[in-house]
Amino acid sequence: MAWHSLLSELAKGTLTTLTVSIAGIAVGMVVGLALALVRVGRVPIAAPAITAYISVVRATPMVTLALLVYFGLPSVGLGMSPLVAAIATIAINTSVFQAEIWRASLLDFPRGQTDAARAAGMTRAVVFRRIVFPQVWRASLPPLVNELSLVVKGSPAVAVIGVVDLTRVAVRWTTQTYEPITPFLSAGAIYVVCVMCLLRLQRYTERRIVERYGIL
């Protein structure tokens, strides 16, 4: 098999890895914010339940979670394709870490501002939408970008449930050609470049936010 064929396979794998990571992190961001709001708002029963859930999911390896989602959930009536299972796995994993990021910046938020907004007659929903959120996301953005690089590094777990991501492309190429060095080192190099670009992006967002809004 020719090298340009390997190149196009690797490109497809990279695209799958990035798609799954970005889709997972987008879902995880929304779910994470919801989890954080329930915890910070001290909603009875739900808040302690979420605290326990976060503690368990944070300790679960990505592979184990992928197997649980793909093989386990169908037996309780939630069957899904490998690709959907992959996105769900990443979303479940990253949402608990993102919940902690959101929670940290929500707890840091100055109480005086919310009190003033409430005194001015805003409802709690409006206070969140107009006062809290526009400021809180700025502090959360750099750690969220950092989370994206962690997710890309954890994403090979989805290769185990049959998604043809960058890692599985390399595995497949090796089993077909009996030549492991080129595919694995190329896949590794692509991961390293992607993660290093994301780290650059993180430093850039941090700098831009400081330039535009002053201190984080």
Binding site: A59, G72, V76, V160, T167, Y191
Partner: protein, 220 residues
Amino acid sequence: MIANFGVVLGEWRALSTGFVNTIWICALAGVLSLLLAVFVSMLLVSPQGAVRRTAQGAVDVLRALPFLVLLFIVYYCLPAIGLRLSAWTCGLAGLVVYNTAYFAEILRGAWAHLPREQEEAGRAFGYSGLGLYRRIILPQILIAAGPVLGNQMITLVKNSAFLMVITIPDLTFMANQVQAIYFVPFESLLVAVALYWVICSGIEWVVRAMDRVALVRGHE
């Protein structure tokens, strides 16, 4: 569902084998990579630019690489250049190499935060070279970095689940085997998740203890 949990608990021998395998390979990898990291951290602050840059480059690349890819490189590429190792050796080597990069970077960071006066006072008392490092610098950066090293141990335990892919019978591998034989996927993997939680909570407990020690000794 309750009956299925009964099936899983009936296979407690298989699961506890996996549980113990995960614990000992992680503990061994943790100790070995800490020893290696102490050495690598010295390279990371070497006065010779070439040594420092090479070491930092290697550490940065390893920290940007997914663990599974490194594991495959060790497992598939080493035999291709004539080095045949057992799955266990590959797994342990992969964990140690990968974790050393993170540990070394953590130690370097703690070292950078250590007040210069400590080193200068040590030199004034006649310490130099390895003696200075072993008696003055290392004890302090280990205490300061202890909690961060502990958190990295949790990451190590979670990465160790990838070892199932190269057929090492760790906790995830055994849980997956139980689920495949009896077709109890949900219950079997849920028990594995609970056991991982037990391991990580244990490490977290140690981290909190180290946190208190670091605070008492005046490290933030």
